[in-house]
């Protein structure tokens, strides 16, 4: 793999926005979809940018992820493919979610290019809006040292923070690069061509960066197995599972912000499917002594794990959006790992890998049936 060093004296965002500008100027990219700080300064949204001047103020790697990028791309391609070339600048988990959505025909990838960056994780959005300045500073520290306090727990255990198993066209390497420097890499053939047309010569060896990525990945993998083994106990049995979700108020925010949950009418929101009649509730209360309202909480969470656990990319949007600090994405990551292993599936790795529930082998899974 080869790449080019880019100067990051004005931070990563400045460096990447300069690259974006030359890509735009070269004419091979018509528009850029990239996170940008809102006017109040307190948060970030995705902006579809056509005017190159506006790229000056974009924030390719914001400290928070209030909007999952796959959702932005989904809105853009809702009616089918885009006619002009769009470069989407996203965190790796956002790219992976976009791939999962494409497999579910909710995103059209034609004329869409992806650029991702090594992601150290994101801070909690709620913390950020309270004190953007302090958290900007903190995030700068995290970018320099590749560790620090306040990252969302899911991010601490993310092993897909770089471009391996993430089908991007361009990638910006940050782990272990010299301060005030980053590397840009054309990962796909299209990505290489883009850089070539933009006059960015990619001839440097980037193996030093690759070694650092491996090291960082080992560390995150270690965190992950620790958290998973803790969760194995904490989430074992209905009593414990009930405790994990005990604070849930059934607002279904976690589902609404999840990039994978695309259904316009969620099964768990359709009241005649899941709600019972009063007399049935009375009968249940009779049998159990009493029943919980809001109800159907466990059905919602376990049901959602069934519906999209295979595709969960561990982006943490659900947990970030939860008003009650329920560890939703940690539980999803734990269960997701297990089911993904069963079907040897890595969500978001490639559009060529079918979603396991939409395909089959004739001779398989006999341990689950009685013949």
């Amino acid at each position: 793999m080869t790449g080019a060093t880019i100067q990051a004296k004005n931070g990563v965002n400045g460096a990447v926005s300069a690259v974006l500008k030359s890509l735009k100027d070269s004419g091979c990219v018509d528009a850029v979809l990239v996170p940008t700080r809102v006017k109040s300064g307190e948060t970030f949204v995705y902006l579809l940018i056509r005017n190159p001047k506006m790229l000056d103020s974009c924030a390719p790697l914001p400290p928070v992820m209030p909007v999952q990028g796959a959702r932005a791309l989904q809105s853009l391609t809702r009616h089918g493919k885009v006619e002009q070339t769009v470069l989407c600048v996203m965190r790796p988990c956002e790219v992976r979610a976009s791939i999962e959505l494409a497999k579910r025909r909710q995103v059209d990838l034609e004329n869409v290019l992806f650029m991702s960056l090594d992601c150290p994780g994101a801070l909690r959005t709620r913390d950020y809006v309270n004190d953007p300045e302090a958290l900007d500073k903190r995030y700068q520290g995290i970018l320099n040292n590749w560790e620090g306090d306040g990252l969302r727990p899911t991010c601490e255990t993310c092993v897909h923070f770089s471009c391996e198993d993430v089908p991007v066209d361009l990638h910006v390497g940050l782990v272990g690069t010299k301060e005030e420097e980053a590397v840009i890499i054309g990962v796909s053939k299209r990505g290489e061509e883009l850089l070539d047309k933009a006059g960015i010569e990619c001839s440097e060896d980037v193996s030093a960066w690759q070694v650092e990525v491996e090291k960082a990945r080992d560390k995150k993998a270690g965190n992950r197995s620790k958290v998973v083994s803790e969760l194995k106990d904490k989430a074992a049995g209905m009593d414990n599972l009930g405790l994990l979700f005990a604070d849930c108020i059934n607002c279904h925010n976690c589902m609404r912000v999840c990039p994978i949950c695309y259904c316009r009418q969620c099964f768990f929101d359709s009241s005649d499917q899941v709600r019972l009649r009063a007399e049935d509730y009375f009968a249940k209360a009779q049998a159990r002594g009493g029943i919980r309202f809001p109800g159907d909480m466990m059905q919602f969470h376990l049901g959602r794990i069934y519906h999209m656990g295979l595709s969960c990319v561990g982006c943490g949007a659900c947990e970030d959006g939860c008003p009650m600090d329920v560890p939703v994405s940690q539980v999803f990551a734990f269960a997701g790992d297990e089911v993904q292993k069963t079907f040897d599936y890595v969500p978001g790795r490639s559009t060529d890998e079918p979603i396991p529930t939409l395909t089959y082998e004739e001779d398989e899974l006999h341990e689950y049936e009685d013949a």
Binding site: F267, V274, G289, M298, Y306, L310, V339, Y368
Partner: protein, 142 residues
Amino acid sequence: MADKFEPNIVGFLCNWCSYAAADLAGSNKLEVPATLTTIRVMCSSRVDPVMLLSAYLRGADGVLVAGCHPGDCHYQTGNYLARRRFALMHKILETFGLDSNRFRLSWISASEGKRFSEVTNEFAEHITKLGPNPLRKMPFIE
């Protein structure tokens, strides 16, 4: 014998085979557990495993899905997909240490009335050994 535990079993039966097998079992006067509640579906793949989960969370002691033998699905591939989905739900239940052994997937063709009777009775025995679904007594879960 008022207190004898009779397991509540919910069975999702494919219209083209297992449901017909249940019918056949009936006309041949073969025994089927009295507490089996059957739900007719047009194919085993019509069953979103969330329905199985619902039955379990709402207190069913056992949940059965029965469809045509592999290769014999009226819609060609439905039961292969149903098997994947069932396996996925099973895996999730296992992961959380929940009662995955209260769930069963069987293939019973339209001509197998006897098999229908055997499978359901055997499953009922198995569930009787497990005892009632503990969730029936948990006020904060559902």
